[in-house]
């Protein structure tokens, strides 16, 4: 069995009357990219804060690289919180040296790595400037450096690409993949499903504090089967109105995605199109996009809890 970077066993956390996290169990493999997904208020931040030992679970236990959480396991983690924030009146270099020191680096080492990272992120000429003088994107990069500067074996990144232009987003992505190649485990929390599809090996979707879907991403998608048709056509779209075959439609302009009724044959759509004289440029059976799985799980789980409540 592969070693776990982080393992949660039956973790619950309540605030007053609200249950933020309920009996959550997870294993995150070392060296993987793990996506922690869920709608707003699902309990993602609370889960991350418990991994970071900022909060202590009411029940259950958490292990970080095989050790129970302590003050010193905090140094094993690099954290990029969703709510970014730095000391705005301090100089860029001073802030990074200070934060690196708090993660256990010696003064000399903190200084050396700060300069190294500022060079790498093309911020060297800004190092003696106050943080407040930097653009939003540059501040994001500084904060990312603060998360990775002590070369942590576990990285927790909450919406790492928000506010970054494509060039800087590429820089951050390359750095993440580079760290992963060197053995780091990356926990990614995001609402951007296309990023999850591109980067994550496995995911956990939580909703109302519960694990509603988890496992390897490929296995999850495979389990849904190729139940979606991706179509590009010219002409009248009436042929898609087949309630017995098409369950729902998702139009993206040029491309239309049709989700099939379980057991329905995609050929029926094609026949109707030909009969209607519509020109088909693309007709592809695909696995459902993660976005759809997310929406289905979250609204499904919601319907389920409502039903539970009424029963």
């Amino acid at each position: 069995m592969e070693a776990s970077a982080v393992a949660l066993a039956g973790v619950s956390k309540r605030f007053d009357t609200i249950t933020a996290v309920s009996n959550l169990s997870l294993r995150i493999h070392q060296g993987s990219v793990f996506g922690l997904l869920g709608p707003n208020g699902a309990g993602k931040t609370t889960t991350l804060r418990m991994m970071l030992h900022i909060m202590v679970p009411d029940e259950g236990s958490i292990e970080m690289l095989g050790q129970p959480l302590t003050d010193s396991t905090q140094d094993l983690i690099g954290y990029l919180p969703e709510e970014r924030g730095l000391y705005t009146r301090m100089k860029v270099r001073e802030v990074l040296i200070f934060l690196a020191g708090l993660k256990g680096l010696s003064d000399a080492e903190a200084r050396r790595r700060t300069d190294e990272w500022l060079d790498r992120f093309e911020l060297a000429s800004w190092r003696e400037h106050k943080v407040i003088d930097l653009s939003k994107g540059m501040q994001q990069k500084v904060q990312f450096i603060a998360a990775v500067i002590h070369r942590p074996p576990v990285l927790i990144l909450d919406e790492p690409f928000s506010g970054l232009d494509p060039v800087n987003a590429g820089l951050v992505k390359d750095t993440m993949l580079d760290l992963r190649r060197k053995g780091a485990t990356i926990i990614l929390s995001t609402h951007r499903m296309e990023q999850v599809e591109m980067m994550c090996d496995s995911i956990c979707l939580i909703h109302q504090g519960r694990n509603v879907l988890s496992g390897e991403l490929t296995a999850i998608k495979r389990s849904y089967g190729k139940n979606t048709v991706r179509i590009e056509y010219e002409g009248d779209g009436d042929f898609l109105n087949q309630p017995g075959v098409v369950r729902s439609l998702n139009r993206f302009g040029a491309v239309t995605e049709a989700k099939l009724v379980p057991g329905a044959d995609a050929q029926e759509i094609l026949k109707a199109a030909v009969a209607g004289g519509v020109r088909i440029n693309r007709f592809e059976l695909v696995e459902p996009p993660l976005n759809d799985i997310f929406i289905e799980k979250v609204s499904g789980a919601h319907a389920q809890t409502v039903a539970d409540h009424q029963a």
């Binding site: 605030f15 007053d16 804060r49 970071l52 900022i54 909060m55 202590v56 009411d58 003050d71 905090q74 140094d75 983690i77 954290y79 919180p81 709510e83 970014r84 924030g85 730095l86 000391y87 705005t88 009146r89 301090m90 200070f98 934060l99 020191g101 708090l102 993660k103 904060q143 603060a146 998360a147």
Partner: protein, 422 residues
């Protein structure tokens, strides 16, 4: 421990390096001393040359005694005022010609003593420069003396006899203490009030600074990565100790500055008048030691309360409102100064100096005036320390939860729940 040290260091350095710190450290004493010096300078500025005056004496024979009274000297040894012309009961109106002499610069002023001045009529002083303070004081005194002497003389009394007859009785104040009896000229009171005020002001100033520092980290959201690296308790303690170090630095600079000025003053004074010394503030060593002990207790106590408040609020405006109850505790102690000063050893004073939140300030004040029984000091230190441990503990629990909470300020009930969170 290294992390705690880093937090203290950052808190200290970022504060000490600000323009505000340098400004307040240098400007406050300079401003105070500057105003003081300016006042001394302006009050002496006029007296740099002999003023020439004329006297029109309509009584007769009064001018001589006025001149005897004008014996003030300039720093260079010349008289302050020289009477260059006396007109004894002139037959013709002399005012016009004297006026002309003022205008061409031969005279600075002339004094017209009316014939009925003995009966109570006023005298008149003609001058171009009405702001010459000297005329107000020296000349007025000399004239009054001359007139009073004449009035007494007319009743057959000598001025010297009156002086002896109306002399008041001096009461010497002797302070009784363990160190023996010392003559007292109000230094004890001044010292006590100064010590009390110093505690009062520094508890508020540095307490509020601690609170600001907490809200700053919370508002900038940097707190999230801090608590992911360090236990909140160390964060809180680092902050409190860092601000304390800033305060101590500021006082050390002021004390050193005051010491230099005092040393310089003594040198100058003893050059002018051998054997002279500046009036000194009584600051016995024991008082200084107690001051430090009680300051530390008081500061930790109030700074932790202010820090907890800072963690509860989400912006500076809310902080302004929320700090009122804590500030009122300190102001309350300040308002009780009177009770202590009036009778430092009364049961009321003793009781008040043992009340948890007042003890650090009020006990220091009592020690400064009159040494209370040792058991009371010990009890007061004990009470202060216990309160401090309590407030630091509560503040740490509130801080830990509060720094991650945004939005509405918690109610008292919610605060109680915070204390139970893990």
């Amino acid at each position: 421990m290294r992390k705690l040290w880093l937090i203290i260091k950052r808190e200290y350095l970022t504060r000490v390096k600000t323009k505000m710190f340098i400004f307040s450290t240098v400007a406050v004493p300079l401003f105070t001393v500057g105003i003081f010096v300016l006042q001394i300078y302006t009050s002496r500025r006029q007296a740099d040359r002999t003023l020439k005056i004329a006297i029109v004496d309509n009584v007769g024979g009064l001018a001589d005694s006025i001149m005897k009274g004008l014996n003030g000297k300039l720093p260079n040894g010349q008289p302050q005022v020289a009477v260059v012309k006396v007109l004894d009961r002139p037959r013709v109106e002399a005012t016009e010609s004297l006026r002309a002499e003022i205008e061409n610069g031969n005279l600075d002023a002339f004094l017209v003593v009316s014939a009925d001045v003995i009966g109570g009529a006023p005298a008149e002083l003609y001058t171009t420069n009405a702001s010459e303070i000297l005329f107000d004081t020296s000349l007025n005194r000399a004239l009054s003396h001359a007139v009073i002497a004449r009035r007494l003389n007319e009743r057959g009394i000598k001025l010297q006899d009156v002086g002896k007859a109306v002399r008041g009785v001096e009461v010497k104040l002797i302070k009784v203490s363990d160190q023996g009896e010392t003559e007292e000229e109000g230094e004890t009171f001044i010292t006590a009030i100064a010590v009390g005020m110093l505690l009062y002001v520094s508890l508020i100033v540095y307490g509020v600074t601690t609170m600001r520092s907490v809200t700053e980290e919370k508002n900038s959201r940097v707190i999230e990565i801090l608590v992911a690296s360090v236990r909140p308790f160390y964060l809180l303690m680092g902050k409190i100790l860092g601000v304390a170090a800033v305060g101590i630095t500021q006082y050390a600079i002021w004390a050193a500055g005051a010491g230099l000025v005092a040393a310089y003053g003594v040198t100058v004074a003893s050059n002018l008048r051998p054997g002279a010394s500046l009036p000194q503030l009584h600051l016995p060593l024991t008082l200084l030691v107690y001051m430090v002990v009680f300051f530390l207790c008081g500061y930790l106590l109030y700074a932790s309360l202010y820090a907890a408040l800072g963690a509860m609020v989400s912006n500076d405006q809310e902080a302004q409102q929320a700090q009122t109850p804590v500030t009122l505790l300190i102001v309350g102690a300040f308002l009780l100064f009177n009770v202590i000063l009036r009778d430092p050893n009364s049961p009321l004073s003793a009781g008040l100096s043992l009340v948890p939140f007042f003890a650090p300030i009020l006990m220091t004040l009592r020690i400064a005036i009159q040494m209370p029984p040792l058991w009371q000091i010990g009890l007061s230190i004990g009470v202060s320390m216990l309160t401090t441990v309590g407030t630091v503990y509560l503040a740490a629990r509130i801080y830990r939860v509060g720094v991650l909470m945004y939005g509405k300020r918690p109610s008292l009930g919610e605060l109680m729940k915070w204390l139970k969170y893990t």
